[in-house]
């Protein structure tokens, strides 16, 4: 049966009221959320409120017009299942995006590393995050990937540590070298005085001793200053005649009469040639 004019009017009024309510409530939610969350989170919160109240208004208007909402809900359920299968990836990205939005492992303008990609966050959307890499490419990373990956935020803290790995020959006096490096770090104006520069032993390797020089820099100038410091160390060690250890291998030359499957009784007396 066709709806009467009065029903149509009342349904229109309920729909309009629902939309107005949705508009008002979403505005209120945006205002409240803006004080507590980031702009992106506030926008998502406002949209959720808008669509929830708008759906109520539409449902109320349709009920007034005599539509059987249970049938509609059933159809909506079927549609949801179909859409769910069709848009599994998108839905996963959407939900991952919501999780990320409220977990906030990074913000706009942060520099992050995801898998092998490092770049500045230029947008955070519901389905993906866009990164601008330092060679000026735009990389879109799906939210699901972000949620499953290790994210390294390189710009979260105001200062960062730079670990410079040095490999020096065994013959070097390590105490002297440590003193030299730490004095150099102290005398270098752009190295932070505290946290204190540090030199750590890492390993004895095939070619020498591996050491790590750790110095701290402000985040904003980290990339520039770590290079300047590495160059400063390189120049200073060169001036102090401290060589870097290069990969080396010891070769023993044997007479051809010796069988290759057995050790030579004269091994060690042979000429030893060091080849770099």
């Amino acid at each position: 049966m066709a709806p009467a004019g009065a029903d149509l009017l009342q349904a229109s009024l309920q729909l309009a009221l629902g939309l107005a309510l949705a508009w008002g409530v979403s505005g209120l939610a945006r205002r409240i959320a803006t004080d507590r969350f980031t702009p992106a989170q506030a926008e998502v919160t406002a949209r959720l409120f808008f669509w929830a109240f708008a759906a109520l208004g539409v449902a109320s208007g349709m009920a007034e017009l005599g539509f059987d909402l249970s049938f509609l809900m059933g159809a909506a359920g079927l549609l949801t299942v179909a859409l769910g299968f069709a848009s599994q990836t998108s839905a996963s990205n959407l939900i991952s995006g919501l999780f990320l939005l409220f977990e906030r492992p990074f913000s706009l303008r942060d520099v992050i590393q995801v898998n092998t990609t490092t770049g500045e966050v230029v947008s955070i959307d519901l389905l993906s995050v866009r990164l601008r890499t330092f060679d000026n490419r735009l990389v879109r990373v799906p939210n699901e990937t972000l949620l499953k990956s290790d994210i390294t935020n390189l710009s979260h803290f105001p200062i960062r540590r730079f670990d410079l790995v040095l490999r020096v020959p065994f013959a070097i006096d390590l105490d002297d070298l440590k003193r030299h490096i730490l004095e150099l770090a102290d005398a270098t104006p752009f190295v932070l005085d505290e946290p204190r520069p540090m030199l750590q032993f890492l390993a004895f390797t095939d070619s020498g001793v591996e050491l790590q020089v750790s110095t701290w820099f402000p985040r904003e100038t980290f990339v520039e200053q770590r290079t300047r410091f590495a160059l400063t160390v390189h120049r200073s060690l060169g001036e102090a005649n401290v060589p870097f250890a290069l990969p080396s291998r010891v070769l023993h030359s044997m007479p051809s009469s010796i069988a290759p499957w057995g050790p030579s009784p004269d091994l060690g007396k042979d000429k030893i040639k060091r080849q770099e």
Binding site: P189, P195, R228
Partner: protein
């Protein structure tokens, strides 16, 4: 060196030109001005060569060099282990570099340079939370005679008051330079720049408050206020820099 550098500089000469040079330790500042431009060659900063900057300006305006405090706190370590006894008081002196601003008369500086650039340091209990500051190259001293008044540096008296009934080991002292004014004091050894004194009070394990005095210590001699603080001084500041830290 131009001893009266903190006095206003008038643009002189028939063509309104000026060229002056000042030296503080290893730092050198050169200002060349014409009626319409000011060229400033600043000291070498942060290991980089001196940069020359040129500014356009209104003709006929007077230029002045203004004394300024550092734009961040200065962190000084006592020369020797310093312990303030329970419910005791100690006074230490910190020497810090001066910043020089170049301004048209009555306007904020359009360029400024440190006379001795200190190293940057981190001021915070952990590398995650805190702020950047400058590390004083000279140590905090308990005896004023151990500090030589160098050109381009100023002195701050810090009074440490321990309200607790246990000793207070001082490893670092934060001097909140942006909150301090600069005074030119006529002392027995001549003119010396001083900042307002700071009184630091410890009333709990983690509670350290600083109070900025109205002027330098009376022992500094008659004082003439040279420069206002960068940041309006509040009667009570929270300091971060006292106590023991451990990193890594």
């Amino acid at each position: 060196m131009n001893d009266a550098w903190y006095q206003p500089l008038k643009v002189t000469g028939p063509d309104g030109s000026l060229q002056e040079q000042w030296t503080w330790g290893a730092s050198q500042l050169t200002v060349r001005a014409t009626d319409q431009t000011v060229e400033v060659e600043g000291p070498a900063v942060d290991g980089k060569p001196p940069a020359t900057m040129r500014y356009l300006r209104a003709p006929g305006e007077e230029l002045e060099l203004t004394a300024r405090t550092a734009d961040r706190s200065i962190v000084a370590r006592p020369a020797t282990q310093l312990v303030v006894l329970a419910e005791g008081t100690a006074i230490i002196y910190v020497s810090s570099p001066l910043w020089v601003g170049i301004a048209e008369r009555g306007t904020p500086p359009f360029a400024e340079f440190p006379t001795h650039l200190p190293k940057q340091t981190w001021l915070g209990a952990t590398p995650q939370a805190g702020q950047l500051a400058y590390a004083s190259r000279t140590r905090a001293r308990a005896d004023l005679n151990n500090i030589t008044a160098e050109s381009g540096r100023m002195l701050t008296q810090v009074e440490l008051v321990n309200h607790l009934d246990e000793p207070w080991a001082i490893e670092r002292v934060e001097v909140p330079m942006p909150h301090l004014a600069i005074h030119l004091c006529e002392g027995p050894d001549g003119k010396v720049l001083w900042t307002n004194s700071v009184r630091v009070e410890r009333s709990g394990d983690t509670e350290v408050d600083a109070h900025v005095a109205d002027g330098p210590p009376a022992s500094a001699g008659p004082a003439q206020r040279l420069a206002e603080p960068r940041v309006p001084t509040t009667p009570r500041l929270n300091l971060l820099a006292l106590g023991r830290w451990g990193w890594l």
